[in-house]
Symmetry: D5
Subunit: 187 residues, 10 copies
């Protein structure tokens, strides 16, 4: 099923954040932009570098009023253990959701039921809980934190200036296009 404009379901999961165990539900993510970033498993390979790159850009996401939620099918106990065992993970400040029951991965349809792991999906959700953009890569294909940020900003621009459209590869500050029938055949 196509996820665009679809509102996320209710959910409540445990999470690990900077040394603490917390609970995160749908109510917590509404009201600001959020990035759900799925990765296959804690203590595995590409994942640390992707998670690290997100941490490196975390301030820019926060400046854009967006929150980052990484998600794997591990428990919050394992997130904590990983943070203690790995320096790269240990410095992560955003929220690491624990999804051992597969609730989130099934909601976003990125659960590999046979392996019990999530595909590499990233979902940009607006303050109303509706999905505005998503990318799903096969196992082994890493994602770009820069591109996620750029797409987030474009989605925010469209939400705010509905009547102007972002051209390809648009970044904040670039020109945008105001739709008009007069432009038909002119671009």
């Amino acid at each position: 099923m196509n996820f665009l404009n679809r509102e996320i379901d209710d959910f409540k999961v445990n999470a690990y954040q900077a040394g603490e165990t917390i609970e995160v539900s749908k109510a917590d993510v509404l009201g600001k932009w959020s990035i759900f970033f799925f990765y296959p498993a804690d203590f595995s390979f590409v994942c640390p570098t992707e998670l690290e790159a997100l941490q490196d850009n975390y301030q820019a996401f926060k400046d854009a009023d967006a929150e980052i939620y990484s998600v794997s099918e591990d428990t919050e106990f394992v997130h904590k253990a990983w943070a203690e065992a790995s320096d790269k993970i240990g410095r992560i400040q955003y929220t690491m959701l624990a999804d051992p029951a597969g609730k989130l991965a099934r909601m976003f349809d990125v659960l590999d039921e046979d392996a019990g792991q999530a595909y590499r999906g990233v979902f940009i959700v607006d303050p109303d809980g509706k999905i505005q953009s998503y990318t799903i890569n096969n196992m082994g294909i890493g994602r770009s934190a820069d591109e996620i940020l750029r797409t987030l900003q474009a989605a925010q621009f469209v939400r705010e200036h509905g009547d102007r459209v972002c051209p390809a590869n648009w970044k904040p500050g670039d020109d945008t296009i105001k739709p008009s029938l007069d432009l038909v055949g002119k671009l």
Copy 2:
């Protein structure tokens, strides 16, 4: 439904390519990598800039042994008319598929049935016809030709060197990671 590893269905559509009308079927796309790039409508706004950006990178995609197929719900007659009316479109060398019956947009689940237009989806398909990565943006959010190319190259690397994994934001020439249990907890 999650599209990863799913083989595309049989299809046959008309297309416009550099002044000619041709027919393109599944058989034509097998054997090399292909990019299916959906956009809402000919003679509309963001679309030309996205299509133009793809044309600017077309040589790099061809160097990577990949073919680009843009797709809209317009006929091949309209593609030709647009090419004649717009300089930007007129210089496009890749294939513009005509999907007025919505066959391709339904196959990739990017058809807005109410509007009769396609969402901004881009699908990277391997030489076996299986989808390895896809991104779907809401109307108005343009895509980055650079990111499509980078993801293509990562997917190609995984296909060729299955035992090495591309870290986040990897580009050809960067280091890769060879999975090993010894690395658990080391990254």
Copy 3:
């Protein structure tokens, strides 16, 4: 299903009319007679001559208190582009409906689902939105604007003078027949 006396469904589509984009819904067509004239595609071959012939007779239709709606599976952007590219289309004053989602073509059962184009159907709809006459020709068989006008006038006569019947090939001013059992066996 037989369409006679069947009331058209609710609908709302974009349209192009003499340089402007408008929206047309069922409410707009009720209250006067309307002609829904389907053709396969913009920028194709027979279509311009059929559309031109309708324009040549447009004043007669308006004199008969009827509105003409041409319909193809193209967008309003394409209608505009076609009007700009073709002198014949450029002078059309009636409303050109845009049906890229196939809503109207499915309502009147004239959609060739495989081609994403409409068959050559023409429907005469009375002021109550009920179909009084329709003709459907296969691809390639053009229609006669004169015959559409003649049939419209006969349908209008029957609606106004229910107890009189129009004989074959009747035109305004010809004799009509008032049904009576005395006529049994006399004609």
Copy 4:
């Protein structure tokens, strides 16, 4: 259901032709063009004038290698009685099918089940038994024998010269159009 390109079903009915009772089946109508012309009832009003107009043009239909079959829900006994009672009907040379069981009217979906009478439908069937054009008028709206003949000839032209298209209101001898991508935007 749309009847275009649909092959007629098997059937066998009694008929009256020029004083004789005969049986007509699908096998009899294959191999040449045929016109199925439905009317509500024998001994009623508009019907004789429509049937008379067809007889007046019968030679032209025969010259076009087409056969005319009128159809009502009356028996062959009634057709004969009508022919004896009415001079207009008495001079008809084409075949008058008897459909008291409603088989043909149901096959072409023109049976008014409540009244046990046929709507005014006319179907042009090609030598393969496939419908190429049809018109259905509400009770009281007569048809034009000239227009039926013109449409038949256009359908025959398309069947013979598939790559040429008949423009609006085309008649034998008029110019036709040979489809070509070069014509896009030129008509």
Copy 5:
């Protein structure tokens, strides 16, 4: 299904009676006895003699407070034409129902669906609309007006004197039998 004691359904059909077109419904037949007399078709062979025999006995039926309704699958137009064409039919005074839609023939289950004609059924219906006796003969086997009249009178006697039973071949004036257990084994 056995029709005894079954009440006829609602119906409304056109009819021909002595030069006039009328409408007959269930309400018209309630309150007196009625004979529904089905025959295959107007302008056919046995039928006139059967219909003529009923007319010869019509006064006796009226004296018995019963109405006769002949029924065929022809229209009222055809009944009129037949009455004008045939002296035998022309003198009929009872009502000739027109059942081209097969409503009555289906209600009494005497429709030959393949031929679109009625079997030779005759139904005696009491003033409450309930069937008291019926006979159905195959095509070609004529019925006796005398026997219909005799059976009607026996049915009327039973309705009026429920406790007396009519012996075989009873006619008005004959002895009847009053049921009593004392008669067991005495007759």
Copy 6:
């Protein structure tokens, strides 16, 4: 369900005939005409007079190569006891079928399930076991042996001279009608 032309089902029942108990099955009735004459019950009232009238005409039925089978829901023991107790029944020579299980009455749909008795139905069955005529009277309405015989003879005439039709009230020796289109409108 209409019983005309329907072949009777297989059956096997006990019977009483002139002092003996026999078994009668479908095989016994095929090859000649047969009359199935249902009556409500042995030792009841109208029944003896109807059965007596049939016996009085038995020779005429045998001359017409027809066999008579009376049927009630009593056993063969009861038929015998009745024959011994009643002179009228005692002289019956035709076969009295015993149907306590209701097999025959259900086959011909004349069983009053509530009373466990048969309605007064009479069925004329041809040598192929197919029903050619039937009459069903409500309780209390006796039947005429003469009319049964007349109808049998008419049915036999139609079977032998299929192309001639028996007019109303026809009896052997009367004129018959040979169907011909020339007769349309002449009778």
Copy 7:
């Protein structure tokens, strides 16, 4: 289905009792004990001796406040005829139920549907209409009136002295057993 403790259904049948025809319903049998005694057919063989033996014991059943109902699938007319024809049956004073429709035999599940006769079942029903004991013998195996009476009396004893149990072959006056856990292992 096991019939113990099952309440008999509503019923109403005709019956013959000592020269009179009466109607018997469930209401008539409630309030006292009743014996339903099924036999195959009137005028048959074992049956008279069984019925005679019941009559010989009838006074004892009445003394026990029980009524006897014999049941066969014959009508009340046949019961009367049998009583008149047979001295043994003629002296029966209890009620002979007529069950030609099989209502009672189906209620007690003793109908041989193929033969239309009842199996030799006997049912002891208490004053609440609930079955307390039943015996079903195959055709040919007669029953003992003495045993029916003995079982009735045991059932009556249990109903009245619920806490005492009748040992095997108990008859009125014999010792009974009062259940007590102390008796476990003592008998």
Copy 8:
């Protein structure tokens, strides 16, 4: 369901016989007559006296080539314990079937599912395994061993001399009746 003439199903149960545990299956009971005698429970009250009475008549049953099987829902362990605890049970020589799973009680439809005990049913089964007679008494109503024996002998007589019928209360040596139509009305 009526059990007459029904063949018992396959079964295999444990049993206790005179100090030994054995297994009894359908194969063991075929070939001779058998009595299945159900009682509610070991160590309960009426049961011992009924079981004792059967033992007292056991030789007569064996002389009649019949085997007795008592059945309760207790295990073979409990049967043995009962035999050891009770002199009356201890002297039983016939087979005591153990049916804790309810297989036999369900097969003969005498299981009180709520109590987990059997109703007092007794079934006489012929050498083909088919039930010829059965009696079912409610809890508390004991059975007569004499009557079981008498019924067995009558069933055996019918099996051997099918054409003679046992009158009521027949015992070996009494007269029997040979069915003949001549006897109708004579008994």
Copy 9:
């Protein structure tokens, strides 16, 4: 189905307790802890030793405010007989439930339907009637009363001190563990 946290259904069964017959229902077991201890059959082999061991520990269970219910598919009569016949069983003070109808064994899914015996299941039920622990052994594998007692005490500890967890093989007096994220990786 997993039984943990599942509330037992309503039930009511007979039981034997120290010489008396009582009735036990769900209401009786609520409000304290209960042990349901299933064994195959009375008068069998392992069972006495298991039941004896429970009796030896009965005081400890009572000290823990728990009641013991042994269950087999035998009746209360058999329990009593066993108690009288066996010294080991005779000294049992806890309640022995009688389950001949299999209600309890089916509720806990430990019924061997083929044998009519229970598997060796033991269920620990809390005062709310919810199952907290259960063990099911195949036939022949005895259980340990000590382990049942130990598990009961652990379950009681968890119910009372929800936030402390009992380590493996915990017994009252041993240390317990208070869950805390700080312990992750420390144990």
Copy 10:
């Protein structure tokens, strides 16, 4: 569903054993006894003590030709990380199965779907893959390694000496009981 005697399904999961990643399938567990020991999660509280107790008894299990498989819903990566982080876990020599997809927990019906964790179930599986004993404790109730070992040994004894039964709390060397009917009532 009761799991006794049920054969485990095919499965294949990753596992961690003493520093290595291996794959374990059904084929690997057949041929010897196996213990499947489920616990909720790695890096949690009771679990280490239970797992440690198993390791302390591991040699005894191996001496009994049995293999231990602990199972949690964590990946093999997490098992390894835990082993590296915890001394207690680090010394485990038996196999730790990784069940992130819940395959094993669903097979044994111990998955808490809401929490994505396993209940504390332990299953003793024989060399044919059939379950012989199982215990399921609620969260928080630890298990006893001693009791698991004792039950294993009893199950092995029954498998080898089928005709001897282990009394309650039996351990190797204790007496066993050879079943014999002579023992009924003696134990």
